[in-house]
Every structure is written in C-alpha cells, then in structure tokens.
C-alpha cells in the first residue's frame, strides 16, 4: 500500500468521524470544532486531487470566515449550556433509517453504474491551478461571477438589517 493510499484512507476516516461528531455532540462549541476538522480534512482531499486553488479558498472561506461567524454567534448567544431538549427516540430512529436507506440506495446505484477511468493521454495536470480556473471563470462564467457580487451586496445588507436592534428591543 502506497503512502498516498494510506493518506487517503486516514483522511477519509477522520472526515467521516468528525462529521458524525458534528451531528452527535451535545455542546455546540464542540460541534463547530469538529466541523473545522472536517473542513481541514476535505481540504486535504482537494490537495490530494491537485485542486490547489480550491484548497486555499476552502481554508480561507470555510475554516476562516464561516467558522468564525459560527463561533462568534454561539459565544454571542451564550449557548454552552446544554438546555436542548432532544427529539423523541422514535424520531431519531426514523431519521437514521431514512438516512441509511438513502445511503444504501445510492451505493447500490453506484455499484451498477460504470465510471470510466481517467484518460492518461488527454489528462491536463494544470486543471486545478489558478491559471486554468481563471481562464474559465473570466471567459465562460463572467456573468455569474458579476452576479455573485450583487448576491454578496444583498446578503450584506440583509444581514445588517436583520441584526440591527430596533428601538425598544430587548438587550441580550
């Protein structure tokens, strides 16, 4: 077994375990920390597949910005205490059965599907680098790229408006 394979399996195991911990942890702060670990392992997968630009963006956007937002909100709302009343056992079992059935169905589909292997003759090793992605992004997807900036503006205005305290609102 080569080193790459070992790294792949270890990364996969940590990804799935920490993802399960996100869902099962009682303390929301532990959930966020497990989610950060999941994102770092996914970044490892991206590096393995030579998607270097997206690996960097994943660290910056997810492990940086989004996780800071989550942690900030949790500490802002002071949710460390475990006052969450959990759902009934029946609901939990039903949820796990639904998820398990979906997993089984999808794996059965993948078994039946034939996925062609990669083609070494036409393989372009520079696909995941900034250069080739920039070419595609600014030539073929220029309009969606500009629309994304409008989306960000709307999201920013919306977040500020929702978060603003109206006169007469309670303090925390």
């Amino acid at each position: 077994m080569k080193a790459t394979e070992i790294i792949f399996y270890v990364l996969t195991a940590i990804t799935l375990l920490s993802a399960s911990f996100v869902v099962t942890a009682r303390n929301p702060v532990h959930s966020v920390l497990a989610l950060i670990l999941t994102f770092f392992c996914l970044t490892g997968h991206y590096v393995l597949m030579n998607a270097q630009f997206l690996a960097a963006v994943n660290i910056i956007v997810y492990a940086g910005a989004i996780m800071v937002l989550f942690l900030f909100t949790i500490m802002f709302l002071n949710l460390q205490k475990e006052d969450e009343e959990s759902k009934t056992t029946l609901t939990k079992m039903a949820a796990v059965v639904v998820g398990g059935v979906l997993l089984v169905v999808m794996v059965a589909v993948f078994r039946a599907a034939s996925v062609a292997p990669y083609d070494p003759a036409t393989y372009n090793t520079r696909v995941g680098l900034v250069e080739s992605l920039g070419m595609v992004l600014y030539k073929d997807y220029l309009l969606p790229f500009e629309l994304a900036s409008v989306l960000f503006l709307v999201a920013m205005v919306g977040a500020v408006m929702l978060g603003k305290r109206e006169p007469g609102d309670r303090h925390f």
Binding site: F8, F152, A159
Partner: protein
C-alpha cells in the same frame, strides 16, 4: 517567450483510487448531514449540517472535475462557496433575531407554519 513550467505529474490519488470511492464518501457525508438536520433541534447545529451537505457536494464536484481534468466543475465549486458564505451570513443573522425574540434557538418552538 513562454516561461518554463515544471511538469506536474498526474496526481497519485487519481491513479490509485477509483472514482467510486469519492462517490461513496460524499454520499456518506451527505447522509450524515441529512441525519443531523432530522435529529437535532438546535438551529445552529442544523445549519452546520447543511454546511456538511454543501461540502459533500463540493467534494464530489472536485473529484469529478479532477478525474476528468475539466476545470468547469471547480468553477462551480467556487460559486457554491460564494453562495454558502452569503447564506451563512443571512442565516446566522436570522438565528440571532430568533434568539432575541424567543430567548431560545430551538426550532421546535417555531411551529406556526407546521401543517
């Protein structure tokens, strides 16, 4: 004159690991996210489970893109990340507002739209 570029090998993981493994991993991540959404009542943890599902799709798109050496899939992942960042900002603002009004972020309390 073209700058000389060091040749990059085909990533070893693509030569050694079948694409089906990535299909199964991302399906498993997605299912974990679904189970999280269905079993938890804490709004922030439900939100984090949605992030897990988005990331499983990202993983799948990047796997297909780099196994097929087609950059379009990775551009899509870039857009998904942008939309996810905007979604998190608005969603967390909504959660803060819910907390301000109900002193709790238990989604079980928000049942006015049920049935």
């Amino acid at each position: 004159m073209q700058p000389t570029q060091a040749p990059i090998q085909i990533p070893e993981v693509i030569q050694l690991i079948d694409l089906k493994y990535y299909l199964i991993i991302s399906t498993a991540l997605f299912v974990i996210g679904i189970i999280g959404v269905l079993t938890r009542r804490n709004a922030i943890i439900i939100f984090m489970s949605i992030e897990l599902m988005l990331n499983s799709v990202n993983l799948l798109l990047i796997a297909f893109s780099s196994y097929r050496s087609d950059p379009t899939g990775q551009v899509f992942v870039f857009f998904i990340m942008a939309v996810a960042a905007a979604e998190v900002a608005v969603g967390l603002a909504i959660i803060v507002m819910i907390y301000r009004n109900t002193r709790s972020i238990d989604v079980g309390l928000l049942n006015k739209l049920k049935w």
